[in-house]
Every structure is written in structure tokens, then in C-alpha cells.
Symmetry: C2
């Protein structure tokens, strides 16, 4: 075995895990989301920045406000998933750096003074964190259904009125229901992805 | 236990894993990188796009060409890590979509005809894949040292002469050496990251 990770964990996180499109009615609790956060918060980022923000949509009103901005093909599943999470990047993450990266508290002003620099850094690092979050949902034994088909401006105006957040993905979360996925699509081979110099 | 993932796997991937800054001399083999790819290739992305490209820097000449573009504080570790991987997004990933997402082969032309649309999608999805890759390095029992401190234009000109790639991160890979990391920096709490509507 070339990998140190045991095969049950490989299956749970990658090999047998699939993007779910239907869900059972079993609720996803705050305790489960807390456990996911408590695991994936350790994922590495640049300067220990943590721009990812998660909005859990739990009320019928919140669900309606969200579904309105989803692409037509995503409305039904976003309406019925036990839990829906909006993942966004906080472009003002640099305010936290003196506390989160105390070895170089000047980073806030020296590196991240300009908004375009912050946006680019937040887009990359919040996306890394979104990847860790999806792995964390699977680590909780749940299925994730990440989506990017939505009106991003609409969601940002609706849920992030401060104008300082960029939505990355909306993720349905729960136990997979009937016919939750189609057969797996192909993946690029090693030789298509990896070159050596 | 709220998580389904066993605690040894939690430790290996998140809780005890750390960003390494020094390494032992033990080589990282192509077989290990193949095993990492074979695991993390299943990570979910939008339209099953797979924009992440990995350049393994194995020759002394390649190492020199890379280190030249690294920030001063990253030069020593990038010079001495057993293996260095350049992670980049291929902004022409849409050419592969008819094969990789056969249920909607028109995506290539209908959705991704415009370069700015492709760049934005590749930046997000390649970063998700970079997150999976870092988890995969840890799944192989290795330490990752991801870095964003480099001259991106310089690396892109040096290693991606086609002008169609955007570098995301450079990752040192190996077994952690002496004094490989400082104590962990703080993480945002659940209440700082998660809100509910």
C-alpha cells in the first residue's frame, strides 16, 4: 500500500463518495457542522488566513431567499436538501490576521492593504478551505452536493449586504436519497495532469 | 463520535498534519505521486472540470529555474525539499469537457467560450483540486509545504510558455525534518465562521 490513509477512509472521502442530488429526510445537526468545522479548520492556508464563511440556511424564509437565486436545474435539490450551506470568501479577512498570524502582524497592512490583493488571496484560500469543507462533510459520513449554478450577485446582495463577501459555492448536505447520482464521469489520467521537469 | 472518519485518519489529514518547512533526505517517488493522483482525482468540481496541472520539479536545472522566482524566505526550503510540485490552473480546460462531462458536451462552447469565464471557473475549481491534492499528500503519509510567495508571472513564463496557465501554489513535499514547524497558529471559532439564517 503506497498510501498511509486506510482504505475505508479513502473510500469515505474520495473513492466511494459522490456528489448527491437527492437526500433522505434525516436532519443535519449543528453538532455535525461543528464537528466538521473543528476538523477542517486546521487545513493549511497562506499566512493562516481563514477567509471562508459559511451561512447555514435553516429557516423556510432563508431557503426561499436562496432558491430564488439558484439556476433552474438546482432549485429542486436546494429546496429539499436537509441542510444547505452558502460558502463565501470574506474579502476583509485581513482584519483578523494580527490575531491569526501573530508572527507577522504587519501582514494586514504591508501585504493586504489593497482590496484587489485581498480579493485574489481570499478567492484562492477560501476555495482551498471550501475543498477542505467538502472533505469534512464526507468525514462526517454525509454527502455533499456542491453547486456553482446560481446568480452570484443576487446571493451576495441577499445574504452579504456589507458588499465584502464573494460567494464561491452552495452546498447541499445530507444522507443520499434514491437515485442520488448518475454513474461517475471520467477523470484525467496521471499523464494528462502531471509533467516532470 | 460525531464524525464517521476514524481518529487516526483525522490526525493524519488534519489534526496532527502540519505545513513542513524542513525535510529529511528521503526521496518522494513517482509511485507515491501516482497514488496521490489516483485518490484525489475523484474530488468533486463543477461540470467535472479538472483544470489542475502539476509540474514535478525533479532535475537540478528545473529546481534552479523555479527557486529563482521564489520569495526570499521560500528559497532555502524550495531548494532542499525532496520533491517540489508547481500547481497551476489550465485555463483551456474546457477543451476536455466533451470527454470529461459527456452528459453535456455543449458546455465547452455554450458556457466556457469566453476566456474570462474560463479563468474564473479554473481559478475556483483548480483551487478546490489543490486542496484535495494537499490532503492527498498527507494521505500518503507525507508532509506538504504549500507556498504562495513567488513571482507568479515569472513562474508562468518559465514553465508555462503557452500563456494558458495560472500558477496557484508551489508545494514542497517530503518527510518532515528537524524543527519543521513552529507552534500552530490560532483558528477562527465556529461562531466566527458560521452563521445561520
Amino acid at each position: 500500500m503506497t498510501l498511509a490513509l486506510d482504505s475505508a477512509a479513502q473510500d469515505l472521502l474520495f473513492r466511494e463518495a459522490r456528489t448527491a442530488n437527492t437526500f433522505t429526510g434525516e436532519p443535519v445537526t449543528d453538532e455535525q457542522v461543528q464537528a466538521i468545522h473543528d476538523l477542517v479548520k486546521y487545513g493549511p492556508t497562506a499566512f493562516n488566513q481563514q477567509p471562508l464563511r459559511v451561512v447555514l440556511v435553516r429557516t423556510p424564509e432563508g431557503r426561499e431567499r436562496l432558491v430564488r437565486h439558484m439556476a433552474e436545474g438546482n432549485k429542486a435539490k436546494t429546496s429539499t436538501a436537509p441542510l444547505v450551506a452558502i460558502l463565501a470568501a470574506d474579502n476583509e479577512f485581513h482584519e483578523e490576521l494580527p490575531a491569526q498570524f501573530p508572527v507577522f502582524p504587519q501582514a494586514k497592512d504591508v501585504i493586504f492593504a489593497e482590496r484587489p490583493v485581498r480579493e485574489k488571496s481570499a478567492a484562492l484560500n477560501a476555495a482551498l478551505q471550501a475543498g477542505y469543507f467538502i472533505i469534512g462533510v464526507r468525514a462526517a459520513g454525509l454527502a455533499a452536493g456542491p453547486m456553482t449554478g446560481f446568480d452570484a450577485d443576487g446571493i451576495e446582495k441577499e445574504f452579504f449586504a456589507d458588499g465584502e463577501h464573494s460567494v464561491l459555492a452552495v452546498v447541499n448536505i445530507g444522507r443520499p436519497g434514491a437515485d442520488s447520482w448518475a454513474p461517475r464521469n471520467p477523470r484525467l489520467t496521471y499523464d494528462e495532469v502531471v509533467t516532470t521537469v
